[in-house]
C-alpha cells in the first residue's frame, strides 16, 4: 500500500495551523473541483485533496496520522503498525460519495469516513438511495437512438463495511433525442431497498464525445461546410451531410465565409427537434500548376478587388 503524504498533497508544512490547512484546502478545492475546473485530472486531484483534508482538518485524525511520522518514502510500501487503531476514536461529519484510498481506509476504516450528509435516507426509511452516474456518448446515440454498453462507477459497501467504488456494466437503450446534461432515469436500478421498501433509481447523465464534423449547441447542430469561391459567388447546389441523410443544399449567390444557412428541424431529434446550421467556409483551390496560376492571374486582372478596403489602405 502506498503511503500518502497528506501535507505534501495540501502543500502545507507539517506544523501548519488549522487555519492554514483550511485556507490551502479551499484554494485547492476551487482549483480542482470537477464542477468548475478545466484542469486535467481535476477529479483525481480533487479526491486526493479531499482525502488529505478529511485527515488534517480533524485534530484526532491528524494526531493519529502524525504518529506515523514521515512514513516510508512516498511510493514505498506501507503497513500500519500492529498496535494501530487502539486509543483513537474517530468522529466526524464529512459526507462524501466516493471511495478514499486504501491507505486512508487502512488507517481510519469505515468509521473514519464520517457520516453521510445530513438526513440521507431519513425521509423514506425503506427506499434505496438513488444513484447518479455520468457517461460520455457518441452523438449518433441521440441522433438515431439505440443500445449502448455503459460502464459505470457506482458506490458500494464491501464485506468489511467500507465504501468502495465498483464497476457496473449495463446495456441501456438510449432515448432518441436526449440532450447533453439530461439524464436517463432507470427505475429501480439504484441502491437496493432497506427491508420492505423499493429500490432507488439510477440517473445516467449524458454528455457527448466531440463529433468529427458536427458541433452541438443544446438541440442544434452546426457544420462548417467548405465551398469553392465560385460556388459562394455564383450560387450552387452542393451535397451536404446531415445526421439522417446527405442532402442537396442550395447556396445563394453572393454568399460569403461565415454565412449561416438553417435546415429547420434537422438537428437533434428532441421534442421539439433542433435545427441544423451550415456555416460556409471558402476553400481556395491550390495554385500549384500553370493552369491554376493563369486562372488566378486572369481573375486578378479582371476584378478590381481590394479585400482590405475597409481598413482604408
Amino acid at each position: 500500500m502506498e503511503f500518502k503524504d497528506y501535507y505534501k498533497v495540501m502543500g502545507v508544512a507539517r506544523d501548519a495551523t488549522e487555519a492554514q490547512i483550511k485556507q490551502a484546502y479551499r484554494k485547492l478545492a476551487r482549483k480542482y473541483h470537477p464542477d468548475v475546473s478545466k484542469e486535467k485530472d481535476a477529479e483525481a486531484r480533487f479526491k486526493e485533496v479531499g482525502e488529505a483534508y478529511e485527515v488534517l482538518k480533524s485534530a484526532e485524525k491528524r494526531a493519529a496520522y502524525d504518529q506515523l511520522g514521515q512514513g516510508p518514502r512516498p511510493g514505498e510500501d506501507f503497513r500500519p503498525p500492529p498496535d494501530w487503531g487502539t486509543g483513537f476514536e474517530f468522529s466526524g461529519a464529512g459526507g462524501r460519495d466516493s471511495a478514499y484510498s486504501d491507505f486512508f481506509e487502512s488507517l481510519f476504516g469505515a468509521q473514519g469516513r464520517g457520516e453521510s450528509r445530513g438526513t440521507r435516507g431519513a425521509f423514506h426509511p425503506g427506499r434505496g438511495e438513488d444513484h447518479h452516474a455520468k457517461v460520455l456518448l457518441d452523438l449518433d446515440a441521440t441522433l438515431k437512438g439505440g443500445t449502448r454498453q455503459l460502464s459505470l462507477r457506482v458506490p458500494d459497501i464491501d464485506a468489511d463495511g467500507r465504501l468502495v467504488s465498483k464497476e457496473r456494466v449495463l446495456n441501456v437503450q438510449v432515448p432518441k433525442g436526449i440532450l447533453a446534461g439530461q439524464s436517463i432515469r432507470l427505475a429501480g436500478q439504484g441502491a437496493p431497498a432497506h427491508g420492505e421498501g423499493t429500490p432507488g433509481d439510477l440517473f445516467i447523465e449524458v454528455e457527448f464525445q466531440p463529433h468529427p464534423w458536427y458541433r452541438v449547441d443544446g438541440r442544434d447542430l452546426y457544420l462548417e461546410l467548405p465551398v469553392a469561391p465560385w460556388e459562394a459567388a455564383l450560387g450552387a447546389t452542393v451535397k451536404t451531410p446531415t445526421p439522417t441523410a446527405t442532402v442537396e443544399l442550395k447556396i445563394p449567390s453572393g454568399a460569403h465565409a461565415g454565412s449561416k444557412l438553417r435546415l429547420k428541424g434537422r438537428g437533434i431529434p428532441a421534442s421539439p427537434p433542433g435545427d441544423f446550421y451550415v456555416i460556409l467556409q471558402i476553400a481556395l483551390p491550390p495554385a500549384n500548376d500553370d493552369t491554376a496560376k493563369a486562372a488566378y492571374a486572369a481573375m486578378a486582372a479582371a476584378l478590381p478587388f481590394n479585400p482590405r478596403a475597409s481598413f482604408g489602405v
Binding site: D35, V36, G118, G121, D217
Partner: protein, 101 residues
C-alpha cells in the same frame, strides 16, 4: 459487437417529463426541505408556483445537486453558491456562442 436490444434497460429522459414536489427534490438530494426553500429564495433554483404547492422541473435536480456539491466541497455560503452558479451559467452561454460562430 453491439449488445442486442432485447436485453437492454430502457428509461425515459428524466428532464422531459419529471415534475417534482418539494418533498421529492428533498428526498432525491438527501437534504432537508428547508435547504431547498433557501435555494429558491436565493434564486439558485426556480420553483413553479402552482395553486398551493411548489413544483420543480426535472432540471432542478441536477442544479440542486450541483449547488449542494459546491456548498459542501468549497465550503461556501448560499450567496457564494448563487454567484458561482450564475457565473457557470454565463460561462456555458459564452461557450455556446463560440459554437455558433
Amino acid at each position: 459487437m453491439s449488445p442486442s436490444d432485447d436485453q437492454a434497460l430502457t428509461g425515459a429522459i428524466f428532464e422531459e417529463s419529471a415534475v417534482l414536489t418539494l418533498k421529492d427534490l428533498s428526498r432525491m438530494c438527501a437534504v432537508d426541505e428547508q435547504h431547498i426553500v433557501e435555494y429558491v429564495e436565493e434564486g439558485v433554483i426556480h420553483a413553479v408556483a402552482s395553486t398551493d404547492e411548489w413544483h420543480f422541473s426535472g432540471a432542478a435536480l441536477r442544479r440542486t445537486r450541483l449547488a449542494l456539491r459546491l456548498e459542501r466541497d468549497l465550503e461556501i455560503n448560499l450567496a457564494g453558491v448563487a454567484l458561482a452558479l450564475e457565473l457557470l451559467d454565463e460561462l456555458q452561454r459564452l461557450r455556446r456562442e463560440q459554437v455558433g460562430r
